[in-house]
């Protein structure tokens, strides 16, 4: 017998020099997929996990059963948060290049995911984000100044100088601390939701990971525990097509959607156009109702695109076509919401430009204030003694001794 097995290596559709190729991406027309009752059995969500929930059509009209029918004022707020995310990201990226901050990660192209979800949730719902969910903080009202101070590790840094830039947290805003290690927050969100069920809380938990990180075992821990205990949680795979240089096929997306893993675990699965603010909002409302009414968890796959580099340490020109994002079939989330509002007669290019200018100015003045509290390399600086606090609730003797040694060392003794 001649062996016929050959190692299969997932195909990456386009590399630098190739024409962008999104033929692998299965799309459903806007308005096409039915919206079932939020209590539908998980096994009856297979069509939702394999199709694509979309509300905005090619002409930027909201159509079909998933249309959340939000009023124009709410959509304008959404656009503001999404633009805020983008303007902030752009400015911080440029500032990182100038050396004032050590590192940055943009969420360019993925702004609708965070903004729509946070707007569709309640402020008491607990969020377990990844490092690409900036919009959550803006929707929940955290001043951008506070985020900047974290990036600068300065005297107003919420992390007291201990964390890399973008690893924010906000207890009072119900947003958990970002780890830096991948996917760890996913099963933790399930545990938080289990506790909510144990305590009889009305709140639900929500978590986000990239499709790349869904390869970690933590993803499976999360789905298993969520399924076993019917935890009130929404688990999101943000499929932005790229994990640094690695295409989503290598994370397991080649022959099956990520959302389809939900029904496999007995969990509802929904695949949504992550660049369609209205669709993401509607799916979040649906999954939140399902969780809040005791009908269990939902796995949501957001189909989107990481339009920026993975981080300021990355150069995507090395591994994907330069014009890939321009050809992405689901377009740009900001442009789509803008065009929808313009179609409704509730927005204009002029107002759009004015809003960007306003946000730019706000970011610039906030930055000016932020650096007045110090930067990574310029005074005023945090006291390095802070590194010894919060290792434990109380500083043990050996750390007190080390702190004294460090102070001697700093004093040249």
């Amino acid at each position: 017998m001649v062996a016929e097995s050959r190692l299969h290596v997932p195909r990456t559709p386009a590399r630098p020099g190739d024409a962008p190729d999104f033929s692998y991406l299965k799309l459903s027309p806007a308005g096409k997929l039915a919206r079932p009752d939020a209590g539908v059995p998980a096994s009856e969500t297979r069509y939702l996990s394999e199709g694509l929930v979309r509300v905005l059509d090619e002409e930027h009209r909201a159509i079909g059963p998933w249309n959340p029918h939000l009023d124009a004022a709410e959509l304008q707020v959404a656009l503001r948060h999404m633009l805020m995310t983008r303007v902030y990201d752009d400015r911080m990226q440029r500032i990182q290049r100038s050396g004032k901050i050590s590192f940055y990660m943009r969420s360019y192209g993925e702004e609708a995911v965070s903004v729509a979800m946070a707007m569709a949730l309640r402020p008491s719902d607990m969020l377990f984000p990844s490092y690409r969910n900036q919009g959550l903080y803006f929707v929940r009202g955290r001043p951008v100044l506070d985020l900047m101070c974290q990036l600068l590790s300065n005297t107003r840094d919420m992390c007291k100088g201990r964390q890399l830039p973008v690893m924010y947290h906000w207890r009072d805003g119900n947003i958990f601390s970002i780890s830096g290690n991948l996917a760890t927050q996913f099963p933790q969100a399930v545990g938080w939701a289990m506790a909510a069920a144990i305590k009889g809380q009305d709140a639900i938990a929500v978590s986000w990971i990239g499709e790349g990180s869904s390869a970690e075992a933590d993803f499976h821990h999360a789905l298993l525990f969520a399924s076993v205990y019917k935890a009130p949680v929404i688990l999101c795979v943000v499929n932005n097509q790229w994990a640094i240089s690695t295409f989503q096929g290598t994370a397991g997306g080649e022959r099956q959607t990520f959302a389809a893993r939900g029904p496999g675990y007995g969990i509802a699965g929904v695949r949504v156009d992550g660049n369609d603010f209205l669709a993401v909002h509607a799916v979040t409302q649906w999954a939140a109702e399902r969780a809040r009414t005791g009908r269990g968890p939902t796995l949501v796959e957001h189909v989107t695109y990481r339009a920026a580099a993975h981080s300021t340490s990355d150069d995507p020109a090395r591994y994907r076509p330069k014009d890939d994002y321009e050809k992405f079939p689901l377009g740009d989330p900001v442009e789509r919401l803008k065009n929808h509002l313009i179609g409704l007669g509730e927005w204009s290019e002029e107002r759009h430009r004015a809003l960007i200018a306003e946000l730019d100015e706000h970011i610039a003045s906030s930055w000016k204030e932020a650096v007045s509290y110090g930067t990574l390399t310029e005074a005023p600086r945090l006291d390095p003694g802070l590194m010894f606090e919060d290792v434990f609730a109380e500083i043990p003797e050996h750390l007190r001794r080390q702190e004294a040694e460090m102070r001697d060392e700093m004093a040249g003794k």
Binding site: L164, E216, T246, Q402
Partner: protein, 338 residues
């Protein structure tokens, strides 16, 4: 001989083994098409194909476990874990499986896997890109543990690790990938071309696992160290004008006790230096080994220099890092003890 930095030396080691031995495969996150986030595997997939240089899912547990399975079926996998800080999802597979397969099967099965992983700080990487977890692996029976301090050793030790029939955890101090570092971040970077160990043979050679190296002979005291701290220790001793004997441990397991203890028996004084946290760090093992073997020769207590017992703090990197000031203070104390 050729001029190489550590990245090129490591690349050359894998290139040679992939070329010589069809059972060698390389796997990890972003290591194939992209060539690795530190470029260590650059060009290898193009040369040896996608079945021998594999981009994997982001699953450290999966990478280690699959490497074990491949090794059991006769391959010699070289697995890259992108940062040592990300190795823990694979820790169960390393500690409970990789380390013990030969033992529990009475030698019928074994898994000659090399796990390469960048470690150490000094690159503004914060708590998740700066750790030195070698002690967590040195403590596990059945694992060989290696950390080179220069390009020559990096290549020779990596070839030796791949050829070794036991699992090897191979730590790469990322701060010195491109040049030696004396602990002062304000000085301009120095390339490996300025250092004798940047001269590396282009072909096959090995540096034996289990052998420390006396990188500087001396008689005043013995500094036992490894990785980035070899260079910091050299600079500190030079700054004090000490005739220090500096030992680069190179292999934590199995430890070259003879080279270390013969030196301390001669000098009578010993300072142990590493970047990892101090408490229950590998320095405790080194210190205990010296004490047990050299007690009657010692003229001063053995001192340890290490990172503080906290997570690696982003903003206080240089207050945390055991730089020349901390090493110097210990050297003085050991020299002044009567």
């Amino acid at each position: 001989m050729a001029q190489m930095n550590m990245i090129q030396a490591l690349n050359s080691a894998m290139d040679i083994k992939l070329g010589q031995d069809p059972s060698v495969v390389v796997l990890g996150e972003d290591i194939g098409f992209f060539g690795g986030v530190f470029r260590v595997t650059d060009g290898l997939q193009r040369k040896y194909g996608e079945s021998r240089v594999m981009d994997t899912p982001i699953s450290e547990g999966g990478i280690i476990a699959a490497a074990i399975g491949m090794a059991v079926n006769g391959l010699r996998p070289v697995a890259e874990i992108q940062f040592a800080d990300y190795i823990y999802p694979g820790y169960d597979q390393i500690v409970s499986e990789l380390a013990r397969i030969r033992y529990r099967s009475a030698g019928e099965f074994s898994a000659p896997v090399t796990v390469r992983t960048p470690c150490g700080g000094g690159i503004r990487g914060g708590q998740t890109h700066s750790q030195s977890p070698e002690a967590l692996f040195a403590h596990v029976a059945g694992l060989k543990v290696v950390m080179p301090s220069n390009p020559y050793d990096a290549k020779g030790l990596l070839i030796a690790a791949i050829e070794d029939d036991d699992p090897v955890i191979y730590f790469e101090p990322k701060r010195i990938y491109n040049g030696p570092f004396d602990g002062d971040p304000h000085k301009p970077a120095v390339p490996w071309a300025t250092h004798p160990k940047g001269d590396v043979p282009e072909g096959h050679f090995t540096v034996p696992i289990g052998k420390a190296e006396i990188v500087r002979a001396g008689s005043d005291l013995t500094i036992v160290t490894y990785g980035t701290m070899v260079h910091v220790s050299e600079a500190a001793a030079r700054g004090l004008g000490l005739d220090a004997e500096i030992i680069d441990v190179r292999t934590m397991v199995p430890l070259d006790t003879d080279t270390i203890c013969n030196s301390v028996a001669r000098t009578g004084r010993c300072v142990v230096v590493h970047e990892a946290t101090r408490f229950a760090g590998f320095g405790a093992e080194l210190s205990a080994t010296v004490q047990e073997n050299c007690f009657w020769n010692l003229e001063a207590p053995i001192l340890r220099v290490a990172g503080w017992d906290t997570p690696y703090p982003h903003a206080f990197e240089w207050e945390y890092f055991p730089g020349q000031a901390r090493v110097t203070k210990a050297l003085k104390a050991v020299m002044e003890a009567s």
